[in-house]
Symmetry: C2
Subunit: 443 residues, 2 copies
């Protein structure tokens, strides 16, 4: 049995998902709904919504935070775009993959159309996320290092697996679905800081959904998209891959256990810096004018991904560790409000930003940082963050998640509806029809 | 000016395309319409048509050979799928890219909706095809050798450029369009022999079209998808690229001059073998029972791409040089009829097929072969093909193209309509509205 068939078998035949993992799946959905609602009226989202309107498709599935109903593939496209646009969605820490953005929207759209139960919908998501995370693990770090945006490339496999499960495909059909989806794996890191970055999970979600429906209708793919001679490993990760990472303990441990929810709306590798800066700021009541230097010692990915001393607009600020640290110092936060074009141009933040620097220490974890802040009175403050808030070792509590969700969702939905949606997700595994959730996503 | 901007400038600002190249563009469209009409009711095409019907989109653009009208992106998807399904579309010989399948359907769908003139539509195709071919040249052979199906990966750039031209985007908007499209570059060669292979140009066409419309609406991409640090060259062709091949004599020579039309409905690298076998068969009135051996000396790509001694079904037969040679001997042809599941299982063909072999000679051209046929009377016949029929050095005549088109198209459209469509394409540059062509594509 090749690696693709092993994954297909897991997705087709797993009966029981542990209740802890089901709870984690609900948490990722609450988080996704909050961040997508907050993004629902952003300018590039408006462009995509108008695109879908121009396509004039049948009103089959809900779009988060919008009155538009559209086809399954366009609903997956739009919802995944909204889920990732603010870079505020969940992160699979071992691989920096964002599993929910590509997988949940595809699963939700198909589950809504199929009138699946909440329990079946949650299982489909868990298996889709497991597929994406396992594939990501199998090519990490070579694939990401080459310049691939793993949320797009591994995400399309996850969306196909999740929808394939929702459609109750057998292992052979799932193998075809993974092949049809996997050959569309795409998304390069050159898009970071542009409107096109969130298009990666959007297309992954839409393409993965379509692949599962095509496979159901008898459309053929290859026997082994993952391990085949001209397949995913060979072509998209020529520098290395690990079959062990893909298959070890498959169905026994679940990668959602290594997933984290973000307290800050920016690239996850800067989070330990922000934790440290906010902690020192609050403890010492720091004001911008006092700061002469903020110096961080960090994991190498911080400089690889987020070294942008002069961000020009909000989206670039999300990939500037300098801006993240400066905004943390000035505002004490890293919410959407810290990543507007105006906030990136703010002279006080810009002034602090010019005093932020970082050096690399490969011995540190990705959720770890040492930060020192030098003050104009000669004093130097230091803080060591071992595990950033929202990392698997220091997870966001359910209460903190609800607070984040309410902050993001409350203004977008009519009064009371955000609370009803939250409640519907927490009780999703009791619902006979997932429409009880999806009907509350739109105003 | 980076490489992406140079291409964007060409597409935005070229005023005059040589009349020879415009004529070649018409030839590629006639060829595409013929092969797409012949494929319009194949089983996997039916699956895609049903998919598009289920999406329920607005009837904005024609689908070749079908009564369904659908959205622009779904029309591009379906028409590109039909164009490539039989592997009978045109080939850019220096790169094995099929430029028409991804580019024409995107250009046609947008031109139909925009009511473009025939002349403007032809120019949009030429510039889209030039973009795809130039990008392909810039990464050949490294990119294809790594396992990428270049028709998908370079095709999406061509579709975006062609539609961007149809939309009259400026160079900056085109740079965004190429970025949004280029990050979706995908398609691995593991799909060869499955229903999913033709999905590569299909998605390239649809995604490229969407990228151009998104860019028109202000959606942003990066400054340089082609040459950027994490862009196309770096990520999808790490073993090498050539900026010279991309940009040399840009706008002065046209790559459609290096494009060929296929006389046989299978992988182009087997064509010189088929020319030789058919020539010897006809000259010596050969019968299957006489044959003890067919031996070919060929370009290395024949074995790389088409070494399949035991094809199991029609699609695999198209990628089996052994089957192509055997069918050429038995039937004297390589049309669709030679690549049905039944013909691949035919005992006479299978018997000849088992006697076909090939050896590699790297000194040969891709359109060249030496073939010997050994007979049961001890005689050995030999034939050297220097340039296969349909190669740039030995192009198919307009008359032969019309014959191929009629053979493929006549049964699919109502009596007389195939001729009217042919005439409309030959006179396309005089048409005020391309709808005069597109309305004739469907019955």
């Amino acid at each position: 049995m090749g690696p693709t068939q092993a994954i297909a078998k897991l997705v087709a035949s797993t009966d029981a998902v542990p209740s802890r993992t089901v709870h984690e799946a609900k948490r990722t959905l609450i988080n996704l709904l909050g961040v997508a609602l907050a993004a629902a009226h952003d300018q590039p989202a408006e462009v995509l919504v108008r695109w879908a309107e121009a396509e004039g498709c049948a009103p089959q599935a809900a779009v988060i935070g919008r009155t538009l109903r559209t086809s399954l593939s366009n609903a997956a496209l739009l919802n995944a775009y909204l889920a990732h646009l603010h870079d505020y969605d969940d992160t699979h820490f071992p691989t920096v993959l964002h599993p929910s953005a590509p997988v949940w929207p595809a699963v939700l759209a198909s589950a809504e159309a199929l009138h699946l139960s909440g329990k079946a919908t949650l299982a489909a998501f868990v298996l889709g996320a497991e597929t994406a995370c396992r594939l990501a693990l199998s090519v990490h770090p070579w694939h990401y290092d080459q310049g691939w945006h793993i949320t797009g490339t591994a995400g399309v496999f996850g969306a196909a697996a999740g929808v394939g499960r929702a459609l109750d495909l057998n292992a052979e059909e799932l193998t075809n679905a993974l092949g049809i989806a996997g050959t569309q794996a795409s998304g390069v890191r050159e898009m970071f800081g542009t409107d096109a970055k969130a298009l990666h999970p959007a297309k992954a979600s839409s393409n993965g959904l379509q692949a599962a429906f095509l496979a159901q209708a008898g459309f053929s793919g290859p026997d082994d998209i993952i391990g085949g001679r001209r397949g995913f490993w060979a072509v998209l990760s020529p520098d290395g891959h690990s079959e062990t990472a893909l298959l070890d303990d498959l169905g026994e441990r679940w990668e959602l256990d290594n997933n984290g929810l973000k307290p800050y709306a920016n690239g996850v590798v800067a989070h330990p810096i922000q934790d440290a800066v906010i902690s020192l700021r609050n403890a010492h009541h720091l004001r911008p004018a006092q700061i002469t230097r903020i110096a961080a010692r960090v994991h190498p990915l911080v400089l690889e991904l987020m070294d942008r001393p002069l961000p020009r607009r909000g989206l670039e600020g999300k990939f500037s560790y300098q801006h993240c640290a400066a905004a943390a110092l000035v505002d004490g936060a890293g919410h959407d409000a810290q990543f507007t074009d105006a906030r990136v141009s703010d002279p006080t933040i810009a002034s602090v930003r010019s005093r932020v620097s970082a050096t690399v220490d490969p011995s540190l974890g990705e959720d770890e940082a040492y930060v020192t802040i030098a003050l104009d009175n000669g004093q130097t403050l230091a803080q060591h963050v071992t595990h950033a808030t929202g990392s698997p070792a220091n997870p966001m509590t359910d209460a903190a998640l609800e607070e984040k969700y309410r902050l993001l969702a409350s203004d977008v939905l009519p009064p009371g509806q955000a609370e009803r949606l939250l409640e519907a997700v927490w009780r999703m595994d009791e619902a006979d029809d997932v429409v009880g959730v999806t009907m509350l996503m739109a105003p």
